[in-house]
Amino acid sequence: MSERPPNRGALWALFDGSNPVFMTMLTLVVTLIAWTVGASFSSPWFFPSPMAVVQAMVTLTESGDLPKAIGISYFRILVGWSVGCIIAIPIALVAGRIAAIRLVVEPFFNFFRFVPPIALLGIAILWFGIGEESKIAIIIYTSLFTVFINTMAGAASIDESPARAARSLGATRRQVLLHVVLPATVPAILIGMRVGMGFSFMSVVAAEMIAANEGVGFLIYNARLFLKTANAFAGIITLGAMGLLADLVFRSVVRRVFRKHALPF
């Protein structure tokens, strides 16, 4: 028996999964064909074809509506998510290391686990007004929550021996927190940040649908009023692409910053 798989020609080799780019492209093309065929049995306002959606995207881009919506949604997510992370990480780190604090905060988190961010939108508007603040507050809540839970669990479950080693090398408790617990928790923090970013996208769209007149969520929801179904599809696809791009940027930045860490992605 030869070690190599039997040679069935170059064409077959494309389909055996060894070429991920080809497989992705293939999936994309097949999906688009199926979509086009499916759409041809329906009317454009019910189920628009890919071409109609592309057309809508071009129109929305030329009019400036789509770029503006992308900008405002990204802005809300980025600000809310960053603020959420900055608040959550230090507190969660301490809470993860000090059982007493953990016992105090854990019931709150277990309670709010079942309260979706959007349920707080009404209160947020009451407190922060109808402007940017209320939407950003919702995103802060969304990401803060996710990042906090991940960071606290991560800090609580790190191996005890590096922290002990640091103490007997002369590190103070605070130095241990900063130079041992924090770096050891980095993978858990980053998972929390990544998941939190995903949830932030969900929250921002929901908030924009209910209480905004700008943003991708508003654009998607508004389309139904004039039966511009293609616009809604264009918005949904834009949303997916925005998320993908944000995740890509996040991962490549993080990989560059935490070169020496074993990262989970």
């Binding site: 191996d159 021996s161 590096p162 002990r164 080693a165 640091a166 103490r167 007997s168 090398l169 002369g170 590190a171 130095q175 130079h179 041992v180 770096p183 050891a184 980095v186 935490f258 020496k260 860490h261 074993a262």
Partner: protein, 264 residues
């Protein structure tokens, strides 16, 4: 002069939890380790050797008795007591070999101009110079233990606590590491408390060997002087004789035969 380490009537009881009953690991431990001595603790697995070391390091407090370092009650863990851990996960995974070794000096604010030379020398001594830029996950088990040893020595502690540092290594590497440690210690001459369950290892290294009883309520049953000249390179008749006596003593211990005070 005070002994480097003194334990009097030390007990360690683990409280237990919802599913685990409380456990009295150590009871009535009396131990005196002299200044500059290489002391080996020998005992069956699970008897409480790591627990004893943790008490000296200051990671945990005893539930009975007193632990003194240089005549003063043991305090929080500090740089005067360096620890080489049983687990190779004690390294800082996100730092290179070199950064691991320099950690103690850097955390205390020693400028690079001053830590550079000793760290470089230690990296050479433990044979990691060529691997200094690697990360712990890129090292073998033996290399990781050598990083731990270098990391502790860079800090120049008064007392070195070593918890079965070579248990996970193959026989050949272990032999080399034992020679290395003996050589370093002869130059360095600090107090070492070295835990092992390898009888030959204890004889190669120790000035005195303390034999622990098996738990629960483990304590030090007997202490043995190792009167062999250094360096101890070969297994001569005296070595074999000592080895056999220790083997018998441990054997009895493992079978749980009570013969308190019987001469080993």
């Amino acid at each position: 002069m005070h002994p480097a380490i003194r334990m009097k009537g030390v007990g360690m009881r683990f409280a237990g939890g919802r599913r685990t009953p409380p456990y009295q690991a150590l009871e009535g431990v009396d131990l005196e380790v002299r200044e500059g001595e290489f002391f080996c603790l020998l005992g069956p697995s699970g008897c409480g050797k790591t627990s004893l070391l943790n008490l000296v390091a200051g990671f945990v407090q005893p539930t009975a008795g007193t632990v003194e370092i240089g005549g003063r009650a043991v305090g929080e863990p500090d740089k005067d007591r360096g620890v080489v851990f049983q687990s190779d996960r004690a390294l800082f995974d996100w730092l290179t070999v070199e950064e691991n070794v320099a950690f103690g000096l850097r955390i205390r604010g020693v400028p690079q101009a001053q830590w550079r030379a000793p760290v470089d020398e230690l990296l050479r001594v433990v044979g990691l110079w060529d691997h200094r830029a690697k990360l712990p996950r890129e090292l073998s088990g033996g290399m990781k233990q050598r990083v731990q040893i270098a990391r502790v020595l860079a800090n120049d502690p008064d007392i070195l606590l070593m918890d079965e540092p070579f248990a996970a290594l193959d026989a050949h590497t272990r032999g080399r590491m034992q020679k290395e440690v003996a050589r370093i210690w002869e130059k360095w001459r600090r107090t070492v408390l070295f835990v092992t369950h390898d009888i030959a290892e204890a004889i190669w290294l120790a000035d005195r060997i303390g034999i622990m009883t098996k738990g629960p309520g483990s304590h030090i049953r007997a202490i043995l002087e190792v009167d062999l000249p250094r360096p101890r390179a070969r297994m001569d008749a005296a070595f074999v004789d000592l080895f056999n006596r220790l083997t018998d003593a441990i054997e009895l211990e493992a079978r749980g035969v009570e013969h308190e005070g019987a001469g080993v």
